[in-house]
Symmetry: C2
Subunit: 337 residues, 2 copies
Amino acid sequence: MTQRMNRQWLLAARPKGLVKESDFRRHDTAVPEISDGEILVRSTHVSIDPAMRGWMENRGDYMAPLDLGDVMRSFNVGDVVASRNPAYREGDVVTGLFGWQDYCVAGTKACPATKLARPEMRTLYLGGLGVTGFTAYFGLLDLGEPKEGQTVVVSGAAGAVGSVAGQIARIKGCRVVGIAGGAEKCRWVVEDLGFDACIDYKAEDVGKRMTALCPEGINIYFDNVGGEILDHALARLAMHGRVVLCGGISRYNDLDNLTGPKNYFNLIFRRARMEGFIVLDYADRYSEAEQHLARWIETKELTHRETIVEGFDNLPAALIGLFKGQNIGKQIVHIGD
Amino acid sequence: MTQRMNRQWLLAARPKGLVKESDFRRHDTAVPEISDGEILVRSTHVSIDPAMRGWMENRGDYMAPLDLGDVMRSFNVGDVVASRNPAYREGDVVTGLFGWQDYCVAGTKACPATKLARPEMRTLYLGGLGVTGFTAYFGLLDLGEPKEGQTVVVSGAAGAVGSVAGQIARIKGCRVVGIAGGAEKCRWVVEDLGFDACIDYKAEDVGKRMTALCPEGINIYFDNVGGEILDHALARLAMHGRVVLCGGISRYNDLDNLTGPKNYFNLIFRRARMEGFIVLDYADRYSEAEQHLARWIETKELTHRETIVEGFDNLPAALIGLFKGQNIGKQIVHIGD
């Protein structure tokens, strides 16, 4: 039975320090009407991503501003429940930036909706076959330029992007060392994902283990965390190494006391580079990435895992949990059927 | 009249904090004899470079180790005063790593000596036509990839490398903003070198001035200093900006309390890269650089300036002065005729 109110979570405050429940405000409103050219999407699943912390503050200036009182931004998948756009039919399964709400008016230039090629695997489009997977794909391959036999280190290795990036490196014939927090995550990374090793940063001396596991230095460091671990990697770069800057989750919750990588100077001695990217720039190559990722998932070369939280009311808690490392693989919230 | 002792400055201690006179020790010894295949060079001029601080500590691992008791390493120019190598004749003017001493056995694989194409301009081979100029040339052009109309910011703009890098950027049609310490240096950078502007970091708010002078952001930041100025530049990168890491003179004297660039994360938002290099890697393209630099010097598109300190005994003081910013342009010590 279809919910006839539109539940929403609005941005109530810019976060200070850790994201809190009170940064959001529940607001229930009428289901919107659609006009010609529009569709109405009812979301079933919401993607929870580290980048949301930045969206809440409009950091980086790479997306339209998110104002206080706006519906919280998110990538979702959902069903078309009404269409006045000939490109869509009721029952189509679509993905897009539909936000923390049940219903979204979409199918327009302002709010595009992409039909899923494999609607039966809808949550994959928030993970390995979505922006998460594309981030891993373009970051590792385009910026990292892995070559067979090279050593790749991935932080946040049990996270959504890191777990895919490391597996792509493995598929490309690299030695892959992950870094993750806790024995359970490390076990998953090695046993299920096929990384060569995984360093438990909560229990081990990261620098020492990195030295032992990367005797010829690090050719590619794929960074999701920043902080001290980035410094450990910079100190151990191989000649012409590449640092792919994907994220910095250790930074997001204390933006007032930021530090920088004091070992950045090793980029000179190692003739190395550190480079950032935003996956949205690769939109015209998403289909290339999707094809490769889908094939690797089909052949089981790429393992995919989701942590699914139940219930619309738990959206803020799921985001807060992400910054505490509670998820393994892709964090998703299931908000409706 | 030729000095018949070989004066030397040896490395006496690894520097702690600022380089001190007592890090070196005078040692006079006999003029060495040469064997077949060797030449004897008597140096006239010694190049003083920021990299020497790192050589004293063997930082970076990119040159043969320098041990305590070794003659201090330096690039020199000098005259061949004896030759048992058919490739050289007495009277040839040569450049190489002849060190802080009058006489050096060279012309071998262990200590190559390069004959100057324009021996009458010998000191230029320690500056614009030497490793200094090549550093500016490859750093700016190969890593920076300047395009006409782009905005280039150069720190250490009145220094040997920065002054050349900024002028090459100007020659390539870029807007060039320098950063230097003191009104005299800034005046020279703008009036004589033709930079569009120069920020006096000792007297001005660097961030504010950078914002005013680079309204569309910084396409290339050529960094010789590190520290806060690097952070200011990172915060103001244009999309796809490049940070060329050449040096970090602000770091060299306090290696125990290093900080990193806290704004490095802007590399993500700006899809930008930060990259280091060592000019020695470009040895097989030095002649390309020399041709271009020589033509620009001939046509007066490239202005060159030297600060020459007199006397062998003043070698340590000249190096200490470099870290205090006492030089304008290339710092050289004249040790003999």
